[in-house]
Amino acid sequence: MKIVVAVKVVADDQDIFVSGDRSLDYSKARQIISTYDTNAIEAAAQLAADNDGTVVAISASTTKADDTKVKKDILSRGIDELFMVADDSLETADSYATAQVLKGIVDANASDYDLILCGDGSADLYAGQVDVQLAAALDVPVINEVTGLKVEGDKVVVERTLEDEVEEIEVPLPAVISVSPNVATPRIPGMREILAAGKKPSSVEGLAGALETKVEVEDIKAPEMTPRKNEIFAEGDIDAFAAAVAEALK
């Protein structure tokens, strides 16, 4: 069985700071695997292991993503090979544009795939649309919010968890499936996995041609913080504090 997992590499938002002019300062932020993609990688790795299959990772990210630590991190999580296209125009690329690039990687390196897994949404844009766009581009079925998967011949039976109900759906392969974080807990790669990752194949290419964007980004700024009263009391003034709180609750 041949599984592909789409992975986005982003800046670690814990270390993104807001500058005085409300623009974002990424200078101290390292590149990491987008949070919910680690769950998708784990689901893909487990599925491959359980079904005697192979699993490769594909990624459309910025040139900063061509970073040894991040690539090793991906490969230390049960992934056999990594195919990456790196270009800075991909930083805020919309889902249509991103899907075209991912389709290109799949066509060139894994055209005989059975299943493509995606995460819930990326840490930066959280659009949750690349799965649909990629499925449309590849002309295959797609389903999202998947919290469990089981291979049954040329189909995958998924547990699909919505707010008030859980569906059991049979998906014909090949297909694109996007998984919720609950689908699998990402492993903590062991030393041997990390060492082995350094020896696994990975390729990074540039974009062949211009990006086909369908959305233009005009501005990115931190929101204006609502001005607050900033009335701060010391521990001894609990009575005054309680009175202020009671007043606010009215």
Partner: protein
């Protein structure tokens, strides 16, 4: 056949240099660091004397060093006064004699990159839990159920090393009077502002150590180091003493920053980092055994650290001990004998180097500092009581220096002071 020739635990000053030394000699070496990047778990005041770094890397000037230290300042603080000595000398700026302020994140990463480029393999984010010991010989490491073997393991895992005792190397758990706890803030300021406030030329900076009221009179002190775009301000105090009084170390730091002598130095600065760390201050007597079957100990893990009051040294010792550990390991691997006997040359080489020579020289410094409370409460006040009358002119009758000084000195105890001074100049 072991997985690696050598495994180094810890990617700090000692670990990276050991790995670099081994990799440069063609040995297969693995470094396992528990932080997500080299330096993530490290902290220094701080300043590094680069003489030992230069011996390993002739291009050490390319390292992310902050400012060359051209002003050595020491201050004695009483609650309401401050006495500062500011020393600068051209000779201290010359190659071989010089020192630089440093920030560990960028610096440790530079060292790690050197080692990686020389061929060392690195694993980050994994804390080694235990050692593989076969027939009394250390032969590898264990973490989360994974085992990796090596002919020699170098422990460079810092002041809180638990592996030293697991390796069977005798190590007394440090007494609480042998460790100090330090808190530090990195405060961002523009380079030109730092240069005008600390009276330095571009690219140059100052080291400034304080003793006395800044640590509430207990053994320890405050420090300020000028980095390129920031200032490191912190407090270090002996743990046993901290526990006996009621001001937490972070509060001491707050109070220090607000002193009228200090506030102008950091005005309008932006605090970008808080950190805390433990500092081994017991000196020679705290050192564990540093050679065992298949194992060597370097850096802070070997307690190679000195606090002399007017200067603090740890990094130059770590770099040198890392290099020497690497060289001893190479010799042992080439000879096919990584037993305690085969690795014993580490201790010999270390003894013959400035590392143990200086550790031995300053053997009594920790005890002196601990048994001289007047250094922190007494001497600063004495200085205040002599200096203030000198500069106070209010129309009241004045006295000669002798008449001012004698009663103050007598109050301290002339004999007591002399004894203190003698001991100081012999221990520090």
């Amino acid at each position: 056949m072991a997985d690696f020739d050598a495994i180094v635990i810890g990617a700090g000053c000692a670990g990276n240099v050991a790995a670099y030394t081994l990799a440069s000699a063609g040995k297969a070496v693995l470094v396992v660091e528990r932080g997500n990047y080299a330096g993530a778990k490290n902290m220094t005041g701080g300043r590094i004397y680069t003489h030992s770094l230069a011996k390993v890397f002739p291009d050490y000037q390319d390292a992310p060093l902050q400012r060359k230290i051209t002003h050595e300042r020491i201050s004695l603080m009483s609650p309401d006064s401050n006495f500062t000595v500011d020393y600068s000398a051209r000779e201290l700026e010359e190659a071989g004699n010089e020192s630089y302020s440093v920030l560990r994140g960028p610096f440790d990463q530079w060292l790690a990159e050197k080692a990686e480029n020389a061929g060392a393999e690195y694993i980050y984010g994994i804390a080694v839990e235990d050692l593989i010991i076969e027939n009394g010989k250390v032969s590898g490491i264990i973490a989360f159920g994974d085992e990796i073997t090596a002919d020699v393991v170098i422990l460079a895992d810092g002041v809180n090393s638990l592996l030293t005792s697991k390796a069977g190397l005798s190590k007394k758990a440090p007494a609480i009077n042998q460790v100090a706890v330090g808190a530090k803030e990195t405060i961002e300021l523009p380079a030109e502002v730092i240069e005008s406030r600390f009276l330095c030329n571009p690219g140059e900076g100052s080291s400034w150590l304080f003793a006395g009221d800044c640590s509430n009179g207990i053994v320890g002190g405050a420090f300020i180091y000028a980095n390129q775009d920031s200032v490191s301000v912190g407090i270090v105090a002996t743990m046993s003493e901290v526990l006996k009084q009621d001001i937490p170390v972070y509060q001491m730091l707050e109070n220090f920053k607000q002193r009228p002598e200090i506030a102008p130095l950091i005005r309008d600065g932006k605090t970008v980092e808080y950190s805390g760390h433990v500092v081994p201050e017991g000196g020679l007597h705290m050192m564990p055994e540093i050679v065992g079957d298949g194992v060597l100990v370097a850096g802070d893990a070997a307690m190679l650290c000195m606090n002399l009051g007017y200067t603090v040294r740890g990094m130059d010792l770590a770099v040198a001990s890392g290099q020497i550990a690497g060289e001893a390991a190479i010799k042992a691997l080439d000879a096919g004998d990584t037993s305690k006997a085969g690795l014993a040359q580490y201790k010999t080489m270390l003894d013959n180097s400035f590392v143990m020579r200086d550790m031995k020289l300053y053997e009594s410094a920790p005890e002196f500092l601990e048994t001289s409370p007047m250094m922190f409460r007494g001497v600063p006040e004495m200085l205040r009581d002599i200096m203030t009358p000198l500069f106070k002119n209010n129309g009241e009758p004045r006295q000669h220096v002798m008449q001012i000084a004698m009663p103050v000195v007598k109050k301290m105890g002339l004999f007591k002071l002399a004894k203190f001074a003698m001991k100081a100049v012999k221990s520090l």
